[in-house]
């Protein structure tokens, strides 16, 4: 059946989501909730746990779809917000906003993060298009270097203006500070993903190459910029609220593609669900290893993600070599 994987993923996600709601320092049973009494427990539930869950879901969905779009448009399986300088550019934007408008709040930081994330990503992509690397692995390496340069500038600014500490707490991804009233920006992920779904076939065609797109009457540069901007804005809105969460955009789409293929219309929902499950699982691990405290989720995602990334690299490199031998 065509939608079998989607349904299974959806059911797993629902179960995990419910488990996550009843996990935490304060024990809250279902009975306390249905009793209907307004108490400290229901407040914790409504003000902290549900917002946290929603933020996790939006992060998982958003980062993995952002990665999926970037990989398609750049024709490279290793490009993602982490390896395409998007995250670092958004952080650079936040640092700039903190320095230039220290008294202004979230809105200014968000706008700066959006603009810088878009500019940084487009710069990187136009750069790699000009150079036309033959080796697929070189592209993410260039992206990581490019991202590190931007991160270096951010650090420098941080030292100069003595906001290093503020920045590092801001950037390290964590859901522990999510409360009602300060996280709603991540909902922006939802309309952006709907937009991505509408343009899914356009992204596929652009991913086939410039000549291929022109032949079908598609505005190649326009769609490229649209897709990358969607990815950048999704990433930036997550960084502003949650902080940096690496690797999801890289590994989740690649794992789903192995089973579902590259047709975005077919993989988008699965990728989104799988991304949400992945982040939710990592968050539950982060909350349970040193109970009742928690480690930052970036630590868990980063360590799991980097291992999978290395395995993926080896897998691709070996696969590439095999193809070359077969052709001779």
């Amino acid at each position: 059946m065509k939608y079998k994987s989607t349904i299974i993923l959806f059911i797993i996600l629902i179960i995990l989501a419910i488990m996550s709601l009843f996990m935490g320092a304060t024990d809250i049973g279902i009975s306390t909730l249905i009793s209907g009494e307004k108490s400290i427990y229901s407040d914790i539930f409504l003000l902290a746990r549900i917002p946290r869950l929603l933020a996790i879901l939006c992060t998982g969905v958003g980062m993995s779809v952002a990665g999926l779009i970037m990989q398609q448009l750049c024709m490279n399986k290793f490009v993602s917000p982490t390896t395409g300088a998007t995250i670092q550019s958004a952080e650079f934007g936040i640092a700039l906003a903190m320095i230039a408008f220290p008294t202004m709040g979230l809105a200014v930081r968000t706008i700066f993060a959006f603009i810088l994330a878009i500019v940084g990503t487009l710069l990187f992509v136009f750069f790699i298009q000009r150079i036309k690397f033959k080796d697929a692995v070189l592209v993410p390496l260039i992206g990581i270097m490019f991202g590190n340069i931007i991160g270096g500038i951010t650090n420098f600014l941080g030292y100069q203006w003595e906001i290093t500490q503020q920045l590092s707490t801001y950037f390290s991804g964590s859901f522990s500070l999510i409360l009602q009233g300060n996280y709603e920006l991540v909902y922006l992920v939802v309309p952006l993903i709907i937009l991505a779904f509408i343009y899914a076939n356009h992204f596929n065609i652009v991913g086939m190459g410039e000549d291929f797109s022109k032949n079908l009457g598609i505005n190649y540069q326009g769609i490229l910029i649209l897709g990358l901007s969607i990815s950048a804005v999704i990433t930036a809105s997550i960084i502003v609220v949650v902080g940096q969460i690496s690797y999801i955009g890289l590994i989740v789409p690649n794992l789903v593609v192995l089973f579902k293929g590259d047709k975005i219309r077919g993989t988008l929902i699965d990728t989104a669900l799988f991304g949400a499950i992945f982040v939710l699982l990592c968050d539950m691990i982060a909350r349970s290893i040193i109970k009742p405290y928690e480690v930052p989720i970036e630590l868990i995602v980063g360590s799991v993600g980097s291992v999978i990334f290395i395995i993926m690299l080896f897998y691709k490199l070996n696969g590439g070599r095999k193809v070359a031998v077969n052709e001779q």
């Binding site: 009457g217 590259d262 047709k263």
Partner: protein, 250 residues
């Protein structure tokens, strides 16, 4: 299609120099010539993939640049060799993209029938659910041609379609080109390296040398000793096989 005084410069080098010709409708036209003679650049310009520096390309009573990209995609299709083949798309998904200029992302029932027909025409039914990155070069080429057939354009342009194909697949492809013209009434333009494929499967040949047209004419007018020697600077023997001029060179 009518081409007049086409010019293309790369830096200070003129790669296409005042090229003019008329494309015969409903026929197969092959562009031949040595490397760097400008044939692929001309192909790029008449298919709007390459911008031209000067000249006029008249396509169905309108300049090519005046056409809306989407409308042109219903009249003229080009198949190049620089497509991304890494994607895990099935053959059917690829062929369905041919309907994109007509229906966008929402294929109608009619579109699906056209896709079915294109797949059947290229005999791809047995592999229609396979991913294109797992196919052999010949199968993939057939899948791309099926997409172009689904695009249902009057003009089909192929840029070096026999590259990377072995003799079996290359000659099959050329027979397919002939069928596109004879059975479906398409106007086909090809860029070819193999002179004999041009001689055996096309109606007209346009030979390029140094960015100019050295000779334009029917197969017999172009594929002969003197003409080929002028273009390639190599001695040729012409043998008559099945009424066609087969050229031999070494």
């Amino acid at each position: 299609m009518n081409v007049q005084d086409l010019i293309k410069n790369y830096g200070s080098k003129t790669v296409v120099d005042e090229v003019s010709f008329q494309v015969p409708k409903g026929k197969v036209l092959s562009l031949i010539g040595p490397n760097g003679a400008g044939k692929s650049t001309v192909m790029g310009m008449i298919s709007r993939l390459v911008a031209r520096d000067a000249g006029i390309i008249h396509f169905e009573d309108k300049d090519l640049n005046k056409w809306k990209s989407k409308e042109l995609a219903k009249k003229l299709a080009i198949l190049t060799q620089h497509n991304n083949v890494q994607l895990k798309l099935t053959v059917r998904e690829l062929v369905s993209f041919g309907r994109f200029p007509y229906s966008g992302s929402h294929l109608t029932k009619e579109d699906k029938e056209i896709v079915d027909k294109a797949i059947a025409y290229m005999e791809l039914e047995s592999i229609e659910d396979r991913f294109i990155d797992e196919l052999s070069g010949g199968q993939r080429q057939r899948a791309y041609i099926a997409m172009v057939i689904a695009q249902d354009t009057d003009y089909i342009l192929f840029d070096e379609p026999t590259n990377n194909l072995d003799i079996y697949h290359a000659s099959n492809l050329m027979r397919m080109v002939r069928r596109l013209c004879d059975e479906l009434g398409k106007t086909v333009i090809l860029v070819l390296h193999e002179i004999n494929y041009a001689a055996f499967y096309s109606d007209y040949v346009c030979a390029f040398a140094d960015g100019k047209i050295a000779k334009f004419g029917t197969v017999e007018e172009v594929i002969n000793k003197e003409c080929l020697h002028d273009i390639y600077k190599v001695d040729f023997e012409i043998i008559n096989v099945k009424g066609k001029p087969l050229s031999v060179y070494y």
